[in-house]
């Protein structure tokens, strides 16, 4: 293991300390829980958006704490769900009387802890709803769609759900919109080198030098097949065929595109991926409203990428183009 760390057990704490001093104008930490929340209250009360999960996914999750995105994050150990107590404390702290929505990914540890927190908060009269992302098409067949795990599609859920909350919509409306965003989102990725969990020092999977894991998860979970590496265009064609046929996306659909690097893939290569994705979308006459290329949801130093498409109706389009301002995700209001 070759990492810039001091103590494998303190990786998450020390990283958070650094994040807090780097972006002190945006975020602060709760005293008695590893929870980061926005520094300033919004001008008007709104639905509070909370997410959380394991660490090792920077800029997720804490990088998205800011205007038009999420209000608070419970930070777990590397690749491991945060405890219910912290999520509960975040809920109590951030509720502005309009209710709280949990937007998180479909992992059993996260589900158990978020649901326990929800029960605790509800028993004290806080209104809580949840939306769980399940965008990774490689992780379960379509007839078991709710068994699918989440990957980079979570970012789209936060962007759209966060914008809906920022507009002052009700808890019920924010939930419906975030659910629609999840329902319309499909992702799939490929990995070439594994992440190494600091506490164990071991790679989370092994591949031959010339192999790739197709459909790899965000913690290095195996996907659907190990295959010999191919050209970027061939890999994109394979992934896009799977993604497009799963929803399915049709000609004249409007979409957002997210090309997400998993941690160790150069941006130069991500743009080669983006190039082919746009060629394919053009061929099918699918209209791209916005394209994000970069590292939005990584897996430590895993090499690889994922492609996420979201079908946008008028409302979702407006929300994805709305202003967002967090330390690691900034966007002008792109609505005319």
């Amino acid at each position: 293991m070759k990492k810039f760390i001091n103590n494998p057990q303190e990786v998450v704490n020390e990283s958070i300390e650094g994040y807090l001093v780097s972006y002190a104008e945006y975020v602060k930490k709760l005293k008695d829980a590893r929870v980061l929340i926005r520094k300033k209250d919004p001008k008007e009360p709104k639905v509070a958006v909370i997410t959380g999960g394991g660490s090792g996914h920077k800029p997720a999750f804490i990088g998205y704490i800011g205007e038009g995105l999420v209000d608070g994050v419970a930070v777990g150990e590397v690749f491991s769900a945060p405890p219910a107590d912290w999520i509960y404390k975040a809920t109590k702290e951030l509720n502005m009387g309009k209710g709280v929505i949990y937007l998180y990914g479909n992992f059993s540890g996260d589900i158990m802890n978020f649901r326990m927190a929800k029960t605790l908060a509800e028993s004290e009269g806080v209104k809580v709803e949840e939306v769980i992302a399940y965008d990774d098409i490689a992780s379960a067949p379509k007839d078991k769609i709710k068994d699918r795990r989440a990957i980079a599609g979570e970012v789209i859920m936060w962007k759209i759900g966060g914008a809906a909350a920022a507009k002052g919509l009700s808890l019920f409306q924010v939930k419906e919109i975030a659910e629609l965003a999840v329902y319309n989102t499909r992702s799939m990725g490929v990995g070439t080198y594994p992440p190494i969990i600091p506490a164990t020092g071991k790679p989370s999977f092994t591949l031959e030098e010339d192999e790739m894991e197709i459909g790899v998860g965000h913690h290095g979970e195996p996907g659907i097949a190990k295959e010999k590496i191919k050209s970027a265009d061939e890999i994109v064609v394979y992934l896009m065929n799977m993604i497009l046929s799963d929803l399915p996306f049709k000609s004249n659909d409007k979409v957002s595109v997210l090309i997400n690097g998993l941690g160790a893939t150069p941006f130069q290569e991500l743009f080669i991926i983006s190039r082919k994705v746009s060629q394919i979308l053009e061929k099918y006459k699918i209209k791209t409203v916005i394209t994000y290329v970069g590292e939005y949801f990584t897996s430590l130093e895993m090499a690889g990428f994922s492609i996420t498409l979201t079908k946008l109706d008028k409302q979702l389009e407006k929300l994805i183009l709305a202003k967002a301002d967090s330390p690691l995700f900034k966007q002008f209001d792109l609505n005319k």
Binding site: G54, E77, P83, A84, D85, G109, M112, G217
Partner: protein, 215 residues
């Protein structure tokens, strides 16, 4: 044969040590079909329990269990935080006020843990989880309890727990992170089943070495 407060504290501390000694084994098992964090999380959680138990005085065994469970629930997270933490808390509620426990109380303890794990995690027997270790243990314990003393009841139940753990090797995972692997989840023991077995085994080892174990 009775287990008093001091014994029970020792049992929990021994369990923590056993987990500590097996971090690499659990990590390796988890890396096969999970994400490899089970060993580290378990060891971190039980270390915290050990620290808490050593630093506090308890009036009864129920309180000791609840305190231990709360450590996992409040500090650990992951899947094991709620599963083991919730299990210990519900066992603690069932044994509230007890300063000594005997054969029948241990049945209450382990059946409470099993019930909590099943309701929270939603797993059934055969889903390739810790339930495949715990349920055969609890079922056999109940079967043997009338015919045997504590040690032999526990011993026979432990044999079933081991068989249950081994049986997960050929199962296809139905819940949790490994469930997306379908056929590929076959061939490896489930790490939760393995850690549950380690805990039971360490419990048994202490009982066997207690004074009056033959009574």
């Amino acid at each position: 044969m009775k287990i008093n407060l001091g014994d029970f504290k020792n049992i929990l501390i021994n369990t923590a040590n056993t987990i500590e000694d097996n971090v690499d084994y659990l990590t390796e098992l988890d890396a096969k079909i999970g994400d490899g964090d089970h060993g580290v999380n378990m060891s971190k959680g039980f270390k915290m329990i050990k620290k808490k138990l050593s630093a506090e005085v308890f009036s009864d065994i129920g309180e000791m269990l609840i305190t231990s469970g709360r450590v996992l629930l409040d500090q650990i997270g992951g899947a094991m935080g709620p599963l083991y933490g919730g299990g210990l808390v519900s066992a603690g509620m069932a044994l509230k006020g007890k300063t000594t426990i005997a054969k029948n109380d241990l049945y209450i303890l382990f059946s409470s843990i099993l019930a909590s794990v099943k309701s929270l995690g939603g797993a059934k027997l055969g889903d390739k989880t810790m339930v495949d270790t715990l349920e055969p243990f609890v079922v056999e314990y109940k079967k043997q309890i009338k015919k045997n003393d504590l040690i032999n009841t526990f011993k026979k139940a432990l044999t079933k727990a081991k068989e249950g753990m081994e049986s997960t090797r050929n199962m296809i995972s139905k819940v949790g992170r490994s469930s997306r692997l379908l056929e590929r989840s076959k061939g490896h023991i489930d790490v939760g089943a393995a850690s549950s077995y380690l805990i039971l085994k360490s419990f048994y080892k202490y009982l066997k070495n207690m004074k009056g174990a033959k009574n």
